[in-house]
Symmetry: C2
Subunit: 244 residues, 2 copies
């Protein structure tokens, strides 16, 4: 592996069974289970070109590098885009993953239209008016829609996807109605859905979904819920397989 300079406050974390490493900075934003579950949600069988909208520190591209022919990752935050680019170099993946600092609300300036087979999106979850805003700006922007709103994210995905390309997204269950309407407004038909529950019998706290650009309505496959913790408090095998 290459040698990489770390800035103050930065650390290198292991990405579990992928054998890869990621540079993170707790003052900015560290990836969480959401990104790990989303990265493993789509089927990559016939997938070639992937775009990660708002890649943060690049965790999803690093996790799926073996599944895709080419990955573009865009990030607004300059410090995070820089960390992501250094992590890509650290793992020797510069030929497969390209990190670009930019604003996907103006995606026309970044990529040609309909140039991706799959778009990944782990967007800010909450409208700015909702919930307490984190005092660390990097965390705040990743959690609240200070930058991209749901509508802007879905529009960018639709622009980037080829006909019958797929958008995979993780979001809050409480916003599922808005999400499906925003998708339909952009000719994206939701086709796969899985709720994530911390424990069996609990209400879900995340939803994973996949939508097809130009897909016909109907034919939605709802998977059994993904349960994160077993009765023993440890990760279930469903989750553990992504780490070990």
């Amino acid at each position: 592996m290459a040698t990489i300079n770390l800035r103050p406050e930065e650390r290198i974390d292991s990405l579990g069974k992928s054998g890869r490493q990621i540079i993170q900075n707790q003052e900015e934003f560290c990836f969480s289970l959401d990104a790990v579950l989303l990265a493993h949600f789509p089927r990559y069988g016939r997938c070639c070109r992937v775009l990660d909208l708002g890649t943060g520190t690049g965790v999803m591209p690093l996790l799926i590098a073996d599944q895709a022919a080419h990955i573009e990752a865009v990030e607004l935050n300059t410090a995070m885009a820089d960390m992501a680019a250094r992590s890509v170099a650290l793992n020797g993946l510069t030929e497969r993953i390209v990190v670009r600092q930019g604003d996907y609300r103006e995606i026309e300036n970044l990529y040609p239209p309909e140039s991706f087979d799959l778009v990944l999106s782990n967007p800010p979850y909450r409208p700015v008016a909702h919930g307490q805003v984190n005092s660390r700006p990097g965390v705040a922007r990743a959690r609240h829609e200070f930058t991209a709103t749901l509508a802007q994210t879905v529009r960018a995905a639709r622009y980037a996807l080829r006909f019958h390309g797929r958008l995979a997204m993780v979001h809050l269950p409480e916003r599922l109605g808005e999400i499906i309407v925003a998708l339909a407004t952009n000719q994206l038909a939701v086709k796969r859905l899985q709720f994530v529950q911390a424990r069996a019998e609990q209400v879900p706290n995340m939803v994973l979904l996949e939508a097809v650009a130009g897909g016909a309505p109907g034919g939605l496959q709802v998977l059994p819920p993904l349960i994160v913790y077993g009765v023993d408090g440890a990760y279930t095998p469903q989750v553990l397989r992504y780490y070990q």
Copy 2:
């Protein structure tokens, strides 16, 4: 209880713990678990006037008669509307439940606008082009959209509901995307959602949902899945409580 004349092929079934009875005819259509779960899904706390769109043999009005001040039930099929009306009489509920034979695709001819607090709908599930059509016409019309389509059902509900009134519906998970879009098109925001699974770990085969007329987007409450059968093959307590 009143004495009621039964027609050939008709039988009287018990409605479990409600203590009520229902006239059914296997050649037409017998109610199933869908209707029982839907009837118990809404919160009836402040509810007064209820409309059941496509009541069939009237099972839901009979089950919820104690929860509502007044229930109107409309049914296109003349034989089923007649059975429903006789069941209402059989249970001495003619002052609370009114069954009307009619076509809710022309709901303007049946009820004034915005005249209900809650609409119940257990509509035909499948587009006419999908799946095998049952040879018994009553069953076929109840399962396939020969009569009302999803769009027509949602439009009728919106017409009937007062501002902030609620639509409760049971449907197929595979059509959830279409349903949410049809609701949004009619200014109905989905606010509660529960999937029904035959067994834990299985994919859901029904979805229960509640939408609010004129409600703001967002704030969707996704409940833990409702599991129908336990490991012993018997109804779970979640379901049994509606029968015993």
